[in-house]
């Protein structure tokens, strides 16, 4: 089931020396890497996830190959 809806983000991780290394911890799922194809998208998804964690917002996530491909934040 690639869509995970109505989730909460309970943690954030990044590793400085590796480009686009940004993870989110999804409650009930564990750590997932944000999609790594583009600087801009890694940045944008991190920003959205950070906001969702800070404000306890609900997210919908599409997962593929263990990575978050699409994110909705409400």
């Amino acid at each position: 089931m690639p869509w995970h809806n109505g989730k909460k983000i309970s943690g954030l991780y990044s590793y400085g020396p590796q480009n686009r290394n940004s993870f989110i911890h999804v409650e009930g799922m564990g750590w997932r890497l944000l999609w790594t194809d583009h600087d801009c998208q890694s940045n944008a998804m991190t920003m959205m996830a950070s906001y969702a964690r800070a404000e306890n917002r609900t997210v919908n996530l599409f997962e593929e190959s263990g990575k978050i491909k699409t994110i909705y934040v409400w």
């Binding site: 583009h38 600087d39 890694s42 909705y72 409400w74």
Partner: protein, 283 residues
């Protein structure tokens, strides 16, 4: 798919064989200037096609109508089944021209109390046309016809290059003026030319159907798609999903940061939307 410019040019009688020929090559010319274009020529210049391309609800035409056909005080004409047929009238001009600029080489549409001023009063941004019947050379091979064609094109070219409607009008008038000694048609048409407009200093890029200010709206959703660069959208309450301007990584990030902050604090924002993309943010 929506286009920037709609050309309407029937070919139903001797006069419109000539006005149709004025439009030959115009589509390619505008596309070379970076404008997408649909050319409703000859049998395609039907009321149904014109309505489909111009009705406000569809936004199939975004910026400009170039109309090369018969006109009268009450209507601009296309054709149906080989017969000259009204396509833009006083009755439908609000729906078909609101939010657009209209340029006609046709008789009489821009006279007092005619379809041109009616359209501008009802939301058409500008209507450039003629206040009485005007004239065309009927031999497309003649040098006079080619001169007239280049003059008619000069207004459209100026708009395509980003000039204001006033600047483009000046170019058109200068073209007629420069050639008035060649034939009385040029000075006559020039004397009957009129620009009607709803505001000053508009261009087809600053004022059209897809440039919209959204004032005091809330951000209630965020979206990003990882595999496509700069694919970031925000949902504006009561409006819908709009993409952040995708030209630069930094600007996508900057706009997103501003809008995320606004969402977090429940603050209203004002944005300039251009063709479903957020070009400017006040947060």
């Amino acid at each position: 798919m929506a286009v920037d410019v709609l050309i309407i040019r029937n070919k139903a009688d001797a006069a419109t064989v000539a006005t149709n020929a004025i439009g030959d090559g115009l589509k390619a010319h505008l596309e070379a200037k970076g404008l997408s274009c649909t050319d409703l020529s000859d049998a395609n210049a039907t009321p149904e096609n014109v309505t489909q391309w111009l009705k406000a609800s569809a936004v199939n035409t975004k910026k400009l109508v170039v109309a090369l056909d018969h006109g009268s005080c009450s209507a601009f004409y296309g054709e149906k089944n080989g017969q000259v047929t009204a396509v833009i009238t006083k009755a439908n001009c609000q729906d078909l021209t609101t939010g657009l600029h209209v340029y006609t080489f046709a008789c009489s549409t821009n006279g007092d109390n005619c379809v041109g001023p009616e359209a501008v009063a009802k939301g058409c941004y500008s209507w450039l046309g003629y206040v009485v019947p005007v004239y065309v050379f009927t031999n497309p091979s003649s040098s006079l016809f080619q001169t007239l064609k280049s003059i008619i094109w000069s207004y459209v070219t100026a708009l395509a290059e980003g000039k204001t409607v006033e600047q483009a009008e000046a170019v058109l008038r200068a073209g007629y003026e420069a050639n008035k000694n060649k034939h009385s048609l040029f000075s006559f048409n020039l004397s009957k030319l009129k620009l009607r407009k709803s505001a000053a200093n508009m261009t087809i890029n600053s004022h059209n159907r897809v440039v919209v200010w959204r004032s005091n709206v809330k951000v209630d959703g965020l979206y990003a798609y990882g595999p496509q660069n700069r694919n970031v959208f925000v949902h504006l309450q009561g409006v819908g999903w709009k993409r952040l301007w995708p030209a630069l990584d930094t600007q996508v990030a900057n706009q997103l940061a501003q809008l995320v902050n606004a969402k977090a604090k429940g603050r209203a924002v004002t944005v300039l939307e251009d063709d479903n993309r957020i070009k400017t943010v006040y947060a």
